[in-house]
Symmetry: D2
Subunit: 338 residues, 4 copies
Amino acid sequence: MQTMGKWVFRQAGVQHLALEETAVPTPGVGEIVVRVAAVALNYRDLRFINGGQSGTALTLPATPGSDLAGVVVATGAGVTRFSEGDDVLGTFWAGWIDGECPPEARVLGGSLPGVLAQYVVLNEAWAVRAPRTLSAIEASTLPCAGLTAWFALVEKGTVHAGQTVLMQGTGGVALFGVQLARAHGAQVIVTSSSAAKLRRMRELGATHGIDRSETPDWDRVAREMTGGQGVDHVFELAGGDNLGASLRALRQGGRISLIGTLDGYNMSLPSIPSFIGRPTIQGIGVGHRRAFDDLVRAVDTLGLKPVVDTVYAFDQLPAALAHLERGAFGKVVVKVGD
Amino acid sequence: MQTMGKWVFRQAGVQHLALEETAVPTPGVGEIVVRVAAVALNYRDLRFINGGQSGTALTLPATPGSDLAGVVVATGAGVTRFSEGDDVLGTFWAGWIDGECPPEARVLGGSLPGVLAQYVVLNEAWAVRAPRTLSAIEASTLPCAGLTAWFALVEKGTVHAGQTVLMQGTGGVALFGVQLARAHGAQVIVTSSSAAKLRRMRELGATHGIDRSETPDWDRVAREMTGGQGVDHVFELAGGDNLGASLRALRQGGRISLIGTLDGYNMSLPSIPSFIGRPTIQGIGVGHRRAFDDLVRAVDTLGLKPVVDTVYAFDQLPAALAHLERGAFGKVVVKVGD
Amino acid sequence: MQTMGKWVFRQAGVQHLALEETAVPTPGVGEIVVRVAAVALNYRDLRFINGGQSGTALTLPATPGSDLAGVVVATGAGVTRFSEGDDVLGTFWAGWIDGECPPEARVLGGSLPGVLAQYVVLNEAWAVRAPRTLSAIEASTLPCAGLTAWFALVEKGTVHAGQTVLMQGTGGVALFGVQLARAHGAQVIVTSSSAAKLRRMRELGATHGIDRSETPDWDRVAREMTGGQGVDHVFELAGGDNLGASLRALRQGGRISLIGTLDGYNMSLPSIPSFIGRPTIQGIGVGHRRAFDDLVRAVDTLGLKPVVDTVYAFDQLPAALAHLERGAFGKVVVKVGD
Amino acid sequence: MQTMGKWVFRQAGVQHLALEETAVPTPGVGEIVVRVAAVALNYRDLRFINGGQSGTALTLPATPGSDLAGVVVATGAGVTRFSEGDDVLGTFWAGWIDGECPPEARVLGGSLPGVLAQYVVLNEAWAVRAPRTLSAIEASTLPCAGLTAWFALVEKGTVHAGQTVLMQGTGGVALFGVQLARAHGAQVIVTSSSAAKLRRMRELGATHGIDRSETPDWDRVAREMTGGQGVDHVFELAGGDNLGASLRALRQGGRISLIGTLDGYNMSLPSIPSFIGRPTIQGIGVGHRRAFDDLVRAVDTLGLKPVVDTVYAFDQLPAALAHLERGAFGKVVVKVGD
């Protein structure tokens, strides 16, 4: 029997993570086995390990991780979408193919086992073909952060040239947001309380930066940047009272994407001055497989390169999670195989 | 010179309303003169008279009223949409024809003069043909309350048979909401703290009523009424902390219409448990002329009869406003002409 | 081993259909076994049996039939959507869940085995819960004819009250079209060359009928019926040169649904007079599972009863197909079990 | 009284065009007077002059021309959208603001007087602000050709990165189509029977060219270029039997824009093999003012430069029309003022 390494925790808490030796899985009917090359981490992995993932009862022992890039090494009976040797990415939502999210859809590294292992078995419906133009490390950043930005901007927001999109902060979704909005000819305003990060966002393509530590009334300044009309779309990534300012920055009939990758936050919708603009406020929870296929095609056409902060070796997961916790500019990725 | 009566206030406050004698207007280029038959009142008329209408600087003297039914008695040069003798309704938004609301659109009885007069002059673009099947008194209820419900349900919400829509309260928009949702084959849940009003809503077609005074956790009960899936669409007419309950009552991917007829309210968006459902929260501010034409056609096809609570004579405006203030079931209408 | 009856043909042609004895299937991983209660026939079943189904290489022996109602009698490992005893309907498209049709989707009684058998095995993703308010015989008419009408009218056409929809002919899709359009408050014009069938369509709810044998310029008459504006939506079910007339009957910006249940026809798009109206011409090929769930909910809410022409016993399939071939008003259904 | 030059014809036919001296217009209520700087020509101007414009009774004498760039030199009473000195473009459709085209909308140089004059008077609703980044000559190309491409691609087609759009031929709309599709990250295939023009299209950004004179089965080759999936969107600019090939080149659920700038053509919709893909076939007739504002914003953001073939002086209109008739690569523009 072939064995492999897999990260497991038997009690909630990062300190209980252990790299265990276990059997390489074999594919059942309709399943594929993927040799994992890279796993990108998300903040929700930390919450999951710490036992606080919302809406998901933690069943122990558990393996964390949702965003994998790898190669198909075995296929079960009836598999038609993939062959051995195909480079694939997992879908964050297992079973959300297109349209609305069906009740039976589940999350890898959530109610389904996670992917921080050398091999994983997936239903063939839970994977897409990887982009031709990215390394596995780069591609592993797409399933959650990349698709969330794409879904908000393109699938729901139908971004187009000449619009102005505002990104709050400089997290992983905001970085993809800048790159994708620019690739569609839109202007991008970024808010951050770090001048250094604003500089890096401008290098990435952002057309304007607002330093929130110097400009607390950033919504007024953002509105001025659009000639008084207001921005077309805000990525609401901060939460709290911030939503009021987002509404004030918005044009008549504009759009706010509430982005929480499954974890919400308290926020307050303000009164008269901001409300009268007929906004559309849209909750975003990653996205479906068809949109993921669209994103992969776009990445290859555009030559878009995801921003990776640091790559950690497979046995360095705790260090990678510590990095994630103290903040990063770009994705933190665990290199699993070759 | 022909004269007419017109309601005017020279200081903010209902007590300063006076029925004045003034010249009947004549139409300019592209304008029509309408002999007013009926004006339906809205709560915003009270705020306007009291000087508190949001976003609108009150220029005195002023005439209140936005929702008129009447007949065209004169047409200016270049008018092509109407002829003398046509029964018409005014559009709440003057200059919002279709699609997005353009910045130049204004409101009758807001930044434009109101319609509580025996004759009014309107740009021909600010009126639609009245339904064939309603009296002027009934038809006068359509421009604000009727169109708001239609816009939320049909134009934005694409209601269809088998859905469940939840109406908060028993105001004018909620009443139209019940009638229109039922006319499209949807089920309707109404919440109210009055058992008597719930009874009347059921007579109007509502399929379920929840008495909020007896069932404070109405969202749980509403969800049960849909077999646990959640309702498809909530008309958020209460504001405040209520929005949290609305989100809890909603299905995955459901819709909340924030309805305020131009006046907002403080409300809070709740955290995790309700947020993960990818809701669409849509601000509604009445609607455009093309949708109004659609509504008129629907009223005639359906034989839908608006609910009128009480009709007041033209010189009884203060009594009508007092009625509005203490609450009504159905619209309060001022009969102006014959 | 339990055995059952199944219709099989080993050469193309209705005369080669034979009722064979074979083993009752057992469910694999993710599969359900359904005891079939009723199968509704479609014209495409005849073409399939005669070897002419487009785009599908006929692999013999084969079993025809796509539209089944039945009850779950066994579930395989990993099944979560259904339990034994659930009343279900098959989906015409196996694997089209929502949104766009993925390339891997296939058709029961097409590239997948048909359902004219006492038991069938289905992936659990290929079924929906049956409506509570219909018999199995009635419900079996929904998967193809019912869903096609629903998908064109509601999912793609967002029908609403006050619109006018025009149905060409009196086939199965047109009958559902009349019932569903009426249930959403729309008016319906039907064209047919049979006065008797027009009478029955009016009984079913159609608001207007046009006898094409007496009124060859039916498009002109249809336009008059809408006060000159043109109809909002045409179900193009006739093909050929007819599309030109459909465009002439249509309003500015109206919609034509090209409905062929997978088999096309030659048709010509006419020139200037009809083209300038910015039509949307939409090809319809049945629909997806999420819309089917919506339809089932609508049927239960509305109490809609499908029109069944004649019910045949399971061993009378050849007679049922002969009936189909000579024409029916409503669906021809084979009763398989109890 | 100030006078100006204006092109007039008193009989149908280019040979009857005469440059006449007439009074400079003055603005009425709600109107602006524009000093015309440039007028771009369209093929429909030729048809109009030759008396063959579809659906429009030619009233003589008449002035041709629809696409103007100029500067506001006078404003009538009640004008709020513009001030003297504003650079503006006329809207092709006078009175189509947003959403659906209302019946009262008319065309400049169609049922309304044309703009080949040194000064024109327009309702203020029939103009938009010119882009900051283009000369008047460049900007004059936007109202018809530019907006048609934008409307098909962005407003109706919601183009996004990674898609493949196919342009038939190298006319004015196709040129804008290439530039705008590329600006949204899409790939573009162009078909033409001129190798030289295909070269120029590649210089403009087209990713692939197919020489129809060498590759009559261009649809097969186009499909191969997309890895067998089919293209996402075809600009159908050729008409005739070509539509069949367009459908064969299209992916499942793809879009065809029928573009005719108000003049249709005979075309045939083919049978089975192409039909089963659930296409959306959308008639395009230029577009509305809100989309035009969006286009102007996009042009400024992108720095997009329209392709101008040749500029003619105001008194050289007949030579400009002759150029148009024999074909151009880019727009033919008449320089009217400075």
